[in-house]
């Protein structure tokens, strides 16, 4: 399969999903130290390391997938691999997100804008169900919820929806900075967490930015 034009729309099929995940793995690897530094300030200095371990494991398994694998099949592989390799809080939370996303994708060959919104919503809801964080608790939910809302407001161009989700997630991550944390390790710091960005919100923004940029 040749390179896909970065202009106009794109089919969010299994091959795209795979390219997206490869891009996430590359970005996580590149920005590992930065994510870990965010976690050092208000957590335990391992978020970058955790995600990198997980996505490198995913890379190692992608090859074994059928060429014709559906988006759901790719997402499911990501979910199970993250669950069994990441650990910590991010492992089960991202694992659940990808698992619920995979279930929402169903047997579709490709996702249109409506399906994308369903998939993103399912991911977010999975995280909330597992972690019980509310908006404003200074967690990855603060990146996911604005992303879901922006994607659903973006109309039915998938590329526009992805771009809107990525932008909203990035803004959501920045918006965690003034907050006091109510979940996760940062909650132990009380007022001392103020002024620091939540690492999980930042990695969520990274994941969605990679989606927006994946041709």
């Amino acid at each position: 399969m040749g390179p896909v034009s970065t202009e106009g729309s794109v089919a969010l099929d299994g091959a795209w999903t795979r390219r997206w995940i490869e891009a996430v793995a590359a970005e996580v690897s590149r920005r590992k130290a930065e994510l870990t530094a965010l976690d050092r300030a208000i957590g335990d200095a391992d978020h970058g390391e955790n995600l990198d371990r997980g996505f490198q494991a995913v890379l190692g398994k992608l090859d074994a997938l059928d060429d014709g694998a559906t988006p759901a099949a790719v997402l499911r592989l990501v979910a199970t691999t993250l669950i069994s390799t990441v650990g910590g809080a991010a492992g089960p939370l991202y694992g659940t997100a990808f698992l619920k996303a995979s279930m929402a994708a169903g047997d579709r060959d490709a996702l249109d804008a409506a399906a994308l919104v369903e998939v993103l919503t399912a991911a977010r809801d999975g995280i909330v169900a597992r972690g019980k964080a509310e908006s404003g608790d200074k967690t990855m939910v603060d990146a996911w919820t604005p992303a879901v809302e922006a994607a659903s407001a973006a109309g039915d161009d998938v590329r526009a929806a992805l771009a809107a989700a990525a932008e909203a997630a990035a803004e959501g991550a920045i918006a965690t900075e003034p907050l006091v944390a109510h979940k996760g390790r940062a909650s132990y710091l009380g007022e001392r967490a103020v002024g620091h960005r939540d690492p999980g919100a930042e990695s969520t923004a990274l994941i969605l930015a990679a989606a927006a940029e994946t041709p």
Partner: protein
């Protein structure tokens, strides 16, 4: 960063390989999925299995407590990172002997979620599992607006007493109830003089000035209540023990087990200086020192510092505390 390691990415693997090689009489090491340390003679027919675990870097917790009278299995994750469900599930299978399995889980989001998944998967295989969450750290406010208290050195006492109950043949319900009772009566608080460095991170988890200490430190170097100027040991002990005493509260006439726990890089002589003052405070309050335990049991790599733990005991709990234990890090009785 100066450490006796070969490769920052292999410290957990190699440390566990060494542990298993040093204690073949006590444990076997499961490497697939990586890792679980299982009691050599598990499963023990009809005995409730006890599994604990969590991020590595707190040694001897948990692997050092696997053996007769305490844990049936320990599941170590990556450095300071909760293990994934796979090895927890495998450990649960290996210690399941028909009487059910108890998971003892320190209250961190990651540990809680990963043990939760493993417990669901075990249940789906027909293994009855109960979980007890340990949250003894009074440094963190237990409110709706936090992830709740952390599990710290009190975990050792939950593991010891629940382990003794399982060893004498108590049912899963009873063992879980004992573990919850111990958790409800144990309180801890710690402090750090100097941070530790996670090998793969390569730099200290936090920074303290030459005259600063962190009061209320977590066992992953998470900040606690406050950062203050260094004080004499006796004053620091007072700062740790007051919030503990007030919390339960511990009262005149209570009998307690006092655990003075080193954070990994603290010399033993300092632990006993701390013990001396803590025992003095208890005596002043009319609280009876029933048992004492002093050592580096729930650590944070080479962090320098100490934590204090008090457990309120009655005759039943004391009997469980005194019951024989045969593990790499804790041994007494027969």
């Amino acid at each position: 960063m100066k450490k006796l390691i070969n490769d920052p990415g292999k410290t957990v693997d190699e440390g566990l390989a060494g542990f298993a090689a040093a204690h073949p009489d006590l444990v076997r090491l499961i490497v697939d999925p990586p890792f679980a340390v299982v009691r050599a003679d598990a499963p023990l027919n009809g005995k409730v299995g006890i599994v604990s675990g969590g991020g590595s870097g707190h040694e001897p917790l948990h692997a050092g407590f696997v053996g007769p009278g305490m844990l049936d299995a320990a599941v170590p994750g990556a450095m300071f990172t909760s293990p994934t469900p796979d090895p927890i599930l495998e450990a649960t299978r290996q210690v399941s002997a028909g009487a059910g399995v108890l998971h003892i889980v320190k209250n961190y989001t990651g540990d809680v979620l990963n043990f939760e998944t493993a417990a669901e998967l075990a249940l789906a295989e027909g293994i009855e599992v109960q979980s007890v969450i340990v949250d003894d750290d009074v440094a963190v406010k237990d409110s709706l607006y936090t992830a709740g208290r952390r599990g710290v050195a009190g975990t050792l006492l939950v593991e010891k007493l629940a382990g003794a109950a399982a060893e004498r043949g108590d049912s899963l319900d009873r063992v879980a109830e004992i573990a919850r009772t111990v958790n409800s009566r144990v309180r801890s608080m710690g402090m750090a003089l100097a941070p530790c460095t996670v090998p793969h991170a390569g730099e200290p988890s936090f920074q303290l000035a030459e005259d600063e200490v962190e009061i209320g430190i977590g066992i992953h170097g998470e900040p606690g209540r406050e950062r203050i100027a260094l004080e004499p040991a006796d004053r620091i002990v007072d700062r740790l023990i007051e919030p503990i005493l007030e919390d339960l509260p511990f009262q005149q006439g209570d009998r307690v087990v006092l655990l003075v726990n080193g954070m990994g890089g603290t010399p033993q002589s300092e632990l006993y200086i701390v013990f001396r003052r803590a025992a003095e405070v208890l005596a002043d309050r009319g609280i009876v020192l029933a048992r004492s335990l002093v050592g580096s049991y729930v650590t944070s790599l080479e962090m320098q510092g100490v934590s204090l733990t008090l457990l309120q005991v009655d005759d039943d709990l004391l009997e469980l505390y005194d019951a024989p234990v045969q593990t790499a890090a804790l041994r007494w009785g027969r």
